[in-house]
């Protein structure tokens, strides 16, 4: 998973401008996290921030301090794409390489950066000042092309703004100063809003309309945990991250598990390309989120919680820490919350480090435990044995926010919205070829046509519902409804007009899954590569009719034999376009002539040998001497 980690130029640590690693400093960093091996990701992030890399000697030291072996530390360090074993520039520019960014002029922006910095994407400058690289979707598709500059986010980039940013950085200005000259004086919330527009286009009744402060929590404090769970069950709330498991049942399972401790984890690792609803909630409704987590804690009897924030949203860290601190101070977190004896709960913020797979429940728990973000075998399910082996509730940001509102306004109020089986409202993050990309909070049950009319995307030729792991539909399916039972989505709606090449989109999404597969299951690790190669064949016009069957067979194998949701959904871009855009495929296939494969190119196959032997091929090259 380290496409972004190649630092060309063969620079050594010494000239990369990194300070020599001091043993005391490493010790201090480890001590800061209690020398706890479960905080490995925090330790490594800290080391990465300070030294711009995790050097081999450092790993030995960290291993000794935390009681692990060197290889365990390296296993974590090499897993996450924001951690690097070779030195990164003091300023690391990560260009968001999503398909929406590509369609919004990413390549011109990349050229502008390359030109100004004198680097190619993937390289680090010789003086160790800059690294330039691509990273998958950073959750800014409504304002693409976007980039991260260290912990700062730049949006709506043009070649001109990219040039001026690069020039300012070269002139010694800090990334923060790119946002505002008085960045230091801004509050965390102002900083976030200076960097990123939230583009709330339609506020619904539940989340983005007026929300009274902590009314749900006040209600929860007066009723029993069982009553809380019953309320959530009666509301019909289902998980908003994509899978749609009934939230009340999840909480009931966890609550009924006898254990010394219970945990509540919020999944704010929104990595599905095209999804950015949690970003908006984290910025606009952070108190509501923590309120929901606190209610869940009371419901299942948890005293500790974790807010897992994706590494790409590091710009929200200060804001969230401030909210947590404020709530501790106001008695809404900590001991005896709202004066209720024994209602103790506190939350730590866990930052990820650039791994899509960590949005998968089990992988997210592994990541919180300081391990590589690999999914866990199920059963046992997290509600039975999750974080550190204790019963754990993992819910999406939006789910917790809904839960808090349900406690305030009652289950019946929530249940009445939406449709049978899909109650309440849903945040849709819309991006791509439409006039008004942004966030729409709507009750479940609208058709795709209705949503497209709202966003100004009526001329869409294709809509990707639910991101790459979801479904791509054509105009003949726009009458379908956005519900769990028809078109389920974690929120991503990506609109493509008739000028976009469907196969290019599919190939991009396959490359995304190739990059993000954790590598544990061979069918997913290898199969997705084969799928991507097969799609390339179609794009080159070299595919035969049998290749359609090959795509279907291989997709079936990957889905059946992978253990987590990534492999079970990664063939979806291929399968859903085969189903909904059959003409796109049939237009480019042709039977091979004489049974000879067009995909095998003899000229490129012998080119290397021709150069080594310094002679022509007697079989395949013409003799021009005669």
């Amino acid at each position: 998973m380290d496409n972004g980690q190649k630092t060309g130029n063969g620079i050594s640590t010494a000239i990369c401008g990194t300070a020599p690693v001091s043993a005391e400093e490493i010790d201090a960093i480890c001590a800061q996290f209690g020398n706890d091996k479960h905080r490995m990701l925090d330790i490594l992030r800290e080391v990465q921030d300070r030294y711009r890399c995790i050097a081999p000697a450092t790993m030995d030291h960290i291993a000794a301090a935390t009681g692990l072996t060197r290889i365990e530390v390296e296993g974590v360090a090499s897993f996450y794409s924001f951690l690097s074993l070779t030195p990164k520039g003091r300023v690391t520019i990560r260009l968001c390489d999503d398909i929406v960014d590509r369609f919004s002029g990413l390549s011109e922006v990349a050229c502008a950066f390359e030109d100004e910095l004198g680097l190619k994407v993937g390289e680090t400058s010789n003086d160790g000042a800059f690294s330039l690289e691509y990273t998958p979707c950073i959750g800014m598709c409504d304002q693409a092309p976007a980039a991260m500059v260290n912990d700062i986010v730049l949006t709506k980039l043009t070649p001109e703004t990219a040039r001026s940013a690069a020039q300012a950085l070269k002139a010694g200005r800090s990334p923060e100063q790119l946002i505002s000259d008085r960045f230091e004086a801004l509050t965390p919330s102002e900083r976030a809003l200076h960097m990123v527009d939230n583009n709330i286009r339609h506020a619904g009744e539940v989340l983005l309309g007026p929300v009274p402060e902590d009314a749900g929590l006040a209600k929860a404090a007066t009723i029993t945990p069982t009553q809380i769970i019953s309320a959530i069950e009666e509301s019909g709330l289902r998980g908003c991250g994509g899978a749609g498991f009934t939230t009340g049942r999840k909480w009931r399972f966890a609550a009924s598990e006898r254990a010394e401790k219970h945990f509540v984890i919020c999944n704010a690792d929104e990595g599905e390309p095209g999804t950015f609803k949690d970003r908006v909630l984290l910025t606009e409704r952070p108190h509501l989120l923590i309120e929901g987590m606190t209610i869940a804690a009371r419901a299942v009897g948890a005293r500790e919680g974790i807010l897992y924030l994706r590494g790409e949203y590091v710009y929200l860290r200060e804001l969230l820490l401030q909210v947590l601190e404020e709530r501790r101070w106001r008695g809404l977190l900590g001991k005896d919350i709202l004066g209720v004896k024994g209602f103790d709960f506190d939350i730590r913020l866990q930052l990820g480090a650039g791994a899509y797979i960590c949005g998968e429940e089990g992988a997210l728990i592994s990541s919180c435990e300081g391990l590589p973000g690999e999914p866990k075998t199920r059963p046992p399910f997290p509600v039975n044995r999750g974080y550190l082996g204790y019963p754990t509730v993992v819910n999406n940001v939006e789910t917790f926010c809904h839960a808090a509102r349900i406690l305030d306004k009652g289950a019946a109020w929530f249940n009445a919205m939406g449709m049978e089986g899909s109650h309440g409202t849903k945040l849709f993050s819309v991006c791509g070829d439409c006039l008004n990309p942004g966030i729409y909070e709507l009750p479940y049950g609208h058709t795709v046509w209705e949503l497209l009319a709202m966003v100004g995307g009526e001329d869409a030729a294709a809509v990707q519902v639910g991101g790459p792991s979801g479904t791509m539909i054509a105009r003949d399916s726009f009458h379908r409804k956005l519900t769990f039972d028809d078109l389920a989505t974690g929120g991503a709606i990506i609109v493509f007009n008739g000028e976009r090449n469907v196969l290019e989109i599919v190939e991009y999404y396959m490359s995304f899954f190739v990059h993000e597969s954790c590598g544990y299951c061979t069918p997913c690790r290898v199969g997705n590569v084969f799928l991507q190669k097969a799609i390339q064949k179609f794009r080159k016009g070299l595919a035969n009719p049998e290749d359609i069957d090959y795509l279907k067979d291989l997709s079936g194998t990957i889905i059946e034999t992978s253990r987590c949701g990534l492999g079970m959904t990664s063939p979806n871009p291929v399968l859903t376009t085969l189903k909904n855009f059959p003409l796109v495929y049939s237009a480019v296939i042709k039977p091979s002539k004489d049974g000879i494969r067009d995909t095998f190119d003899i000229q490129s196959a012998i080119d290397g040998a021709r150069k080594i032997a310094k002679r022509r091929s007697y079989i395949f090259d013409k003799d021009f001497t005669q």
Partner: protein
């Protein structure tokens, strides 16, 4: 009573060890039975270097490691109705494809030749040169299974496949009774 016209069979060994051709001989005395049904055209067994006429079945041992293999394979595809990949090298590249594992190199082919002829520990090559006679076919960048170069109709697995599976498959194909392999016939060693 006039005899039925015999089916024509051709065989070739590409990047293989000739083990699969030896396995054909493992058909033993049943060869006589088989010869009632077929006539062998181009093949190392007959030492015929060219097709004398179009064949019904072509049998390929070995994958493609050089341009001549590709040329022969193309020739077989064009001159045979049914093409069979015999053994693991033809099916998957086999042992020669180990050189495909030299991946993290800027010049994998150069590295492979250097180790084989110059730098390898157990090499006694007094010329210190990589052979480069003009008659030698150029190597391909990697070793390809036959199915990547031409369409293959049937694959008989094994290294080498047993005489039994070869006889059984051929006789069933020739009588139109082939419906897939018997499970106990498939052996990979």
């Amino acid at each position: 009573m006039s005899e039925l016209p015999k089916a024509r069979i051709a065989t070739a060994s590409l990047a293989g060890c000739f083990g699969c051709h030896m396995a054909i001989l493992d058909i033993d005395e049943r060869l006589i039975e088989l010869m009632q049904l077929v006539e062998v055209d181009r093949s190392p067994l007959t030492d015929k270097k060219r097709f004398t006429q179009r064949c019904d079945i072509g049998i390929i041992e070995g994958g493609c490691c050089n341009e001549e293999n590709v040329h022969v394979l193309h020739d077989f595809r064009r001159n045979c109705d049914v093409l069979i990949a015999l053994g693991q090298c033809a099916i998957m590249g086999g042992l020669p494809a180990m050189r495909n594992a030299i991946m993290h190199s800027d010049a994998p082919l150069r590295e492979c030749l250097d180790e084989a002829y110059i730098t390898g520990k157990y090499i006694r090559n007094t010329t210190h040169n990589v052979p480069n006679d003009p008659a030698l076919p150029l190597l391909l960048d990697e070793v390809y299974p036959c199915s990547q170069v031409v369409e293959i109709d049937y694959q008989i697995p094994g290294c080498a496949p047993s005489g039994d599976i070869i006889f059984d498959t051929l006789s069933k194909l020739l009588t139109g009774k082939f419906r897939g392999f018997e499970r106990d016939m498939i052996k990979f060693d």
